[in-house]
Each structure stands twice: as structure tokens, then as C-alpha cells.
Point group: C2
């Protein structure tokens, strides 16, 4: 049943998003701190699950976590700005501290490339010091003008990996390992969000990078969301920050560096991939509460009967399922159903006196709202049934998102077709244009080339814009 507190997606997708963030109690606009949010308990619990799953992969691929300072000398940022055309972050400046004006202001890190570059330059002397494989989990700040919870805020939370290598090949291998084994693997398996892995065009790549790889996901309104980027920085940053090493032939070389990051933006992607007009929908692997049990009773006698059954039932769940028994007395079952639907709990178990007598429970799965998703099942074998169902839902959400993306992706062979298709979703097209062409298309359509997919058809066609023959396809879309 559509909920009054949530605007329907078909009516206003942007308002729907804000309603979900509010009603699922994920975050609140801070108001007194411009462009910032308070991440509330449910939102932060999702982020913690994301962090752990990402961190496991980051460590499994040989990286260690470190922590660099929040503040960066302004001169470091200016140096980068000079060096890298197009890099001009909107930043927050600390000009006073300890009651005095600072001789040189500090910038609250918008990203840590520069300060990390400074230390890498100190730490790296010889090829024996390489590779350096570090990551940090941190808050960063960019003074954005138009903000939306999770998608774009002044302060946000992310991980930023920064590595240094002896050869270009190693740096490229690292960049792709992160793209595949960390980001795509995490987003597809944990978030149940299918992604297209690709390379950014010259126009879209990170300023100063040799090559930027990305994973792109489709939201329910057909727009793209970049769910992670991994940059091969070549020797550009090493030159800017003098990161050199003595190689095996005793020659001084610039190191090859990479950087890669994903942020709390992924929570926005999660919401916009799976949720519906009833509220948040969470893939079981990232659900802070996977199962909620709502006991139903009318009097104390029924209460003890039901609660005894619930206790017995859930005894086996500890350590296997993340669950909550909602035994609040001052709220009705209907109120509770509504609240946990809004918050996206994958499975709801209802237990009343009749269920106790029949040794059954009512089971509702969040990904299929209403009666269609509700069934009555025996208490015997319930734990295994729920575990199997959670796995099934994890797969089903991925498949549904994949089917949606495929249904909203089309090959286009003319500029007119492209313009039409980007109203619906992704437009796949042969492309032989240049940066100026891309800019013109963006001005005219607000669509950009999201990526040059790593998987290419291996065939030849005519560029959708210039008509030139090419074997390269790209994905056009409007993006978050």
C-alpha cells in the first residue's frame, strides 16, 4: 500500500528520494552547518556494513589502512591546482586557530592526494620501498552549492586509496585490481547493484590522471550514478610532489601512483536502485536488521504465550541472522509493520496466538510488497528457510536491477535516437568524437559519456555523432 509520507516515484522522483531518506531515518540535513548532514543510526549502520565489506576486500588485496591529517597547508592545494589543469576544488579554509590568525591557512581536505604525496616523497627512497599500498577511511569536505543527502554534501565520508609503484604496468594492474576485485565485486555482490566497468574519456577523467576507470550503475529513473573510480595517475602526481626512487640500476625515477575511492554516495545509489513507494528496500547483506519479529497479542496471557514461542524461535538466530524482536508495548502491530517496511528490513515474521497453536508464522518479504510477498510457514526449519530466503532476495534484487538496466539500455545509431534514449536510460553508441564533440552533446542534451565499457563488441560501426567508422562503443546517460 503506497504510504502518504512518501511521494510516489512516478510523481516526483527527487522528492521520493528525500522522503525515503527522511522516513527510513537515514539522515537529516544539518541546516545549521551549510550543506552538511547528520547521518542517523540506521544510515550509519548501513555505512558500517558497507565499510566492513569494502575494508575486507581492500585488506585482502594487500592494502593497509593509515590516517593522514584532516588539514592540508593551502600551498599544497595551490601547487596541485597549478599542476593539474581543471583541479579547483571548492574548499573550506581554516584561517584562525588557538585565537590567532595563521600565517598560512589550512584547507580541510577535499581529498588527500597532496598531503599524501608530500609524505610519500619522504618515505620512498628505493625500489625496495615499493609498492606502497595504503588506504584511509576519512571525512572530506567540498563546499558544494547544491546538496542532496548522500549524493552531494559538503562533508562526506569515504575511503581513499593511494598507492605508489615502480612501474607503469604495476600501477595499471593495481588500478584494475581495485576496479574489479574491490569495487565491482563489492557493489554487485553486497549492494546487489549491477555495474558497467569502463574507462572514462579524456573529458570525464580525473584531472591529472593517465586513465580513470569507473563502475557505472543505473538508477530507477534511468540516470547513471558513478559508483566508484580507480585512477592510474601515471607519473603526474609523482612529478608534482617529487616522489622519486632509486631503481635497481641506481637511477632515480619518478614513481607511478594510483588513487581510488568510494564514498557515502553509495548509500544514495543503494536507495535509488532498490527502494520502492513503500520505503527503503535493502539487500540482505547490507541490512543492519535482516529479520524483524513482530509479536501479536491482545492481553498478557497471549503475550507470554507468544513471547515464549518467539524466544524459542530466535534462540538459534544469534550469530546467524541480524534480527530484532519488536516487543514495544506502546505501538500497534500495524504501526510496527509500517515502520520496518519504511526502514527496509528484508524479512518480517509475525507471530500471534494462532500461529503458536499451529506452529507456524507469517512471513513477509520486503522486496515483494503486500499479499504477494506474504506466506505462512512452519516454525520447524524456519532459520534455514530465512537464510535461504535472504540469499534468494539478494540474488533477486540484483537480477531485478539488471533486468531494469537492460530494459532501459538501447543501441542508438543517430544523434536523434541518442537524444530520445537518454530520456529513458543508457544509450550505447559507437563513438569517434573528440572532447569538443562531447561538450557540445552535454550542452545540448545534459548527457555525458559515462564510460567506454571494458567489454566491447569487437565489431565496427559508425560514430553516433561524427559518422566516422570506429570499433569503440560508449555509454551515454544523464548522471547524478
Amino acid at each position: 500500500m503506497p504510504k502518504e509520507v512518501i511521494t510516489q516515484r512516478s510523481v516526483d522522483y527527487n522528492q521520493w528520494y528525500l522522503d525515503i531518506v527522511r522516513e527510513a531515518d537515514l539522515a537529516e540535513v544539518a541546516e545549521v552547518v551549510r550543506g552538511c548532514i547528520v547521518v542517523k543510526a540506521h544510515g550509519w549502520a548501513i555505512w558500517e556494513l558497507m565499510q566492513r565489506a569494502l575494508d575486507d576486500r581492500i585488506k585482502a588485496t594487500g592494502h593497509a589502512n593509515v590516517q593522514f591529517p584532516l588539514l592540508i597547508p593551502k600551498s599544497f592545494i595551490m601547487k596541485e591546482a597549478e599542476h593539474v589543469e581543471g583541479f579547483a576544488p571548492e574548499v573550506a579554509e581554516v584561517t584562525r586557530a588557538g585565537g590567532e590568525e595563521l600565517a598560512e591557512p589550512y584547507i580541510i581536505r577535499p581529498t588527500s592526494e597532496t598531503i599524501i604525496g608530500y609524505f610519500y616523497s619522504k618515505w620512498i627512497r628505493s625500489y625496495r620501498d615499493l609498492p606502497l599500498l595504503y588506504n584511509q577511511w576519512a571525512n572530506v569536505m567540498r563546499w558544494e552549492m547544491r546538496t542532496r543527502p548522500f549524493l552531494r554534501t559538503a562533508e562526506f565520508w569515504w575511503q581513499e586509496g593511494h598507492t605508489a609503484h615502480a612501474t607503469e604496468a604495476e600501477a595499471e594492474e593495481e588500478t584494475l585490481r581495485i576496479l574489479h576485485d574491490v569495487y565491482a565485486d563489492f557493489v554487485e555482490k553486497e549492494m546487489a547493484v549491477p555495474v558497467i566497468r569502463g574507462l572514462k574519456t579524456e573529458k570525464e577523467k580525473f584531472p591529472g590522471a593517465l586513465r580513470s576507470y569507473c563502475i557505472e550503475a543505473m538508477m530507477q529513473d534511468g540516470r547513471a550514478l558513478q559508483a566508484g573510480t580507480s585512477h592510474n595517475l601515471g607519473q603526474n602526481f609523482a612529478r608534482a610532489f617529487d616522489i622519486t626512487f632509486t631503481d635497481q640500476n641506481n637511477t632515480i625515477q619518478y614513481a607511478w601512483t594510483t588513487s581510488w575511492g568510494v564514498s557515502t554516495r553509495l548509500i544514495g545509489a543503494l536507495i535509488m536502485t532498490h527502494s520502492d513507494d513503500e520505503g527503503l528496500v535493502l539487500p540482505p547483506r547490507l541490512a543492519p536488521i535482516q529479520v524483524v519479529v513482530v509479536p501479536i497479542y491482545k492481553n498478557d496471557e497471549e503475550r507470554s504465550l507468544v513471547m515464549a514461542a518467539v524466544e524459542q524461535m530466535t534462540a538459534a538466530w544469534k550469530g546467524r541472522l541480524r534480527f530484532k524482536v519488536d516487543d514495544r508495548d506502546n505501538y500497534s502491530p500495524g504501526y510496527k509493520f509500517n515502520e520496518w517496511e519504511l526502514k527496509g528490513v528484508p524479512v518480517r515474521i509475525e507471530v500471534g496466538p494462532k500461529d503458536v497453536a499451529k506452529e507456524t508464522v507469517a512471513l513477509a518479504r520486503r522486496d515483494i510488497p503486500g499479499k504477494a510477498g506474504k506466506s505462512f510457514v512452519p516454525q520447524a526449519g524456519l532459520t534455514e528457510r530465512i537464510e535461504a530466503l535472504l540469499n534468494e532476495m539478494q540474488t533477486a534484487l540484483f537480477q531485478r536491477a539488471l533486468a531494469f538496466r537492460e530494459a532501459h539500455t538501447a543501441d542508438v545509431t543517430s544523434y536523434d535516437e541518442l537524444k530520445e534514449q537518454i530520456e529513458r536510460g543508457f544509450a550505447r553508441a559507437y563513438w569517434a568524437g573528440d572532447t569538443a564533440d562531447e561538450k557540445r552533446i552535454q550542452e545540448e542534451t545534459r548527457a555525458t559519456i559515462r564510460c567506454i565499457p571494458l567489454e566491447q563488441p569487437g565489431s565496427v560501426g559508425r560514430c553516433v555523432y561524427t559518422g566516422r567508422e570506429t570499433d569503440r562503443q560508449v555509454i551515454f546517460a544523464r548522471a547524478y
Copy 2:
């Protein structure tokens, strides 16, 4: 064998501390960012283990994690400063952002009481909204003049819990639950650091708190380090930030709030409790690497022989022990022994060709340096032996620290005795003085009352300073 790179404790304790931080590769002074440090991989890995063990306890006691903004409007801090006498943090101010002067500067949070108070005031309406039990893991900043890695830095990392309750009794219960079940339990069981649980005097308590509880640990130089504080804030902060609720009788009441925190300072406490002139000593439960295996060989043939044995041996360790096989070819075994001793790895296993033949290994325990801590043991049953040894070491470190504290704590009955004893460690004394007396003693001796222990002798004696009769004992010490 004492190491040249580390100043002996008996020569210069402060320099010894800095040497340990550097040689164990825990942190580096940032230099280009005043008063800040870079926490390096080994240091951050220890902090992550601490965080997880603390976070488990914080959640087990019913709290949820949230995240409030890094920046706080300056007016919020000024309001607190007016309200709470003595609260005048040295802060860093953001006065420019997005290229423009800000109408009102922001402060980088020195602690989040004020901004959290603002939101609690919005969120709390009725007694049904209480208790509110939130915690956040965050970086905070205080513009300190004299800094030392981990012990006192401009930026540091901590958790800050902030709760609101309907009654004073509940707030007091919460304050003590955190002290006992979270902080003391964590510090004693995980860090193997014995603590004295106590109440702060009026002079030493958190400004604005009704009561401040703390746990105090003794470092190897006899000085005290406050390892955690838990404050019952009464209704003071609720008054300052207008945190009110409608109670069951429909009357508007101020909420009762608490706050509590521990920080990366605990890494300093860990170092100064257990480490020795050989380097860092870590309790096994907080050791990122619990066992290091150093294979010993002279040629390729021996290498394959030894590595095959090592592989077989460690196959059973995955998921049971945090271990590392140090198979670097470009470093000698002696170099490796030294490095892992410096880094405090609890157990070292050496395997050479003779060990393979005899089906033994050499085992060295870090808490007993040199030959005394080395033994030759069979490969059969090695996993269980190591697990048992790690448990034994965890207990032994705690017992050693406890014995040290007891040996350096004395009852004093005169001011002269007190002055003498605080050169050695803790002075336990009857106390009936007032704040002015405490201040005088601090000026004359640099010692403060660390706490009024919760465990009191239940007997009566004469105040060490005023001579008045009292049943209250306190602990005097110089403190970090």
C-alpha cells in the same frame, strides 16, 4: 639486547617513548600541519582492533552509532563557553569557504556536545523518545601548544557517547555502566592495563558535569594516565541547549544527559604500560600480528624445504591467529627478528632446516626478551600451544602491570610523604581538603588528585593536608 635506536627508559623516559613511536612505525609528526600526526599502518591497525573491541561493548550495552557534522557554528561554542565556566577550548576556525568570507565562522569540533545538544533538542519531544543512546567515532581538533604523538595532538581520533534520559537515576546508571562495562572492561581485558575506577574531584571534573567518573592507569614512570571518562552532565547541558521532554504527567522537564569518551590517547597508555627497551610490547588481543614466522635458510633447496614446512604449519592458523610469514629474501633473519621485536609482535616462530628434520620450531615470546623467553617446541600441537601462550601472555602482562602499580603505590599520612611518594608513583591519602587546597598542592608538587576511588577502605583517617578526620581516600599523582 638493548637497541641503539631506542633510548633506554632509565636514561630518558620521554625520549624512549618517542623512539618507540618512531621505531615501531606507529606514527610520525606531520610537521607541515601544526601539532598533527600521521598515524602509520601499524599504529592504525592497533587502533582498529581497539575500536572494534570498544564498539562491540558500546553496541552490546544498547548504543547505536551516528555521525554529526565536523563543523560547529561558532555561536554554539560561545554559548557553551558562557554557560560552562572553565570551558574555553583552543579551537581551529573556518572563516572562508567556497572562496568567500563566512558571515559566521565554523569551529572544527573539539567535542560534539553542542551540536549534538542542538539536535537532541529537536529530536526529543516526549518521554517515549528517551533514552537516546548514541555514540560517534570521529576526529576532533584542539589547538594544543605542546604536543606528543597519541598523548596530545591537535587532531585526534576518539569515540564520544552522548545520551539523554528521563531521570537522574537513569543517567547515573548509564554513566557507571559505561565506566565499568565498556571502559574498565575494555582497558583491563583487551589492553591488559589495570585501572583504578573513581570519581573526579570538583576541581578535576569536566566543566559543566554533575559528576565525572574516570579510570586511571599507572605508566612505567609512575605517572597517571586517565584512560577514559564518563560524565553525568545532570541537566546542565539540557538547560544550555533546551533539551526538554513532556513526561508521563504531561509536564515539561529538562532531560538528564551523559557524555563519555576514549581516544587514540589509549595507544600512548598501551605503549607506556607494557613496552620495554627492546621496543613495543603488545598484549596479544590488540596485536595486529600475533605470530610472525621467520623461515631460515641458506640456499634454494633449504628454502623450499623450510617453506613447505611453514606452509603446512600455518594452514591451520587461518581464522584462529593473526599471523605473518616473513619470507622477504632481501633481509636477514637477524634483521627480521629486530624489526618484529620493535613492532611488538607477541610470538616469533623460527624454522630452519634442522627444525624441519627434528619436527620442532624455535619459539620466542616478546614479553620475556632474550634467551629466557625462547624455547624449542614440537611442531605437533603448535597451534594450541601458541593459542595458550597468547592467553598466558595477555594475563601475564596484566599481572605485571598490576604488580608494578602496587609496588609504586603507597599510603601517605603527611604532606612530606605525599611529596616523596609522587616522585615514585601513586600516593593514596585520606583527603578532606577543598579545591583551593588541591590547587596549592598542584602548584607545589605538580601532582593532582587523579580520583576518589569507588572502592574505599571504609575506615577513617586524617586528611593528608588539612589533618581533618575523614573516611574518604584519594589518589594523588603526576599525570600525563
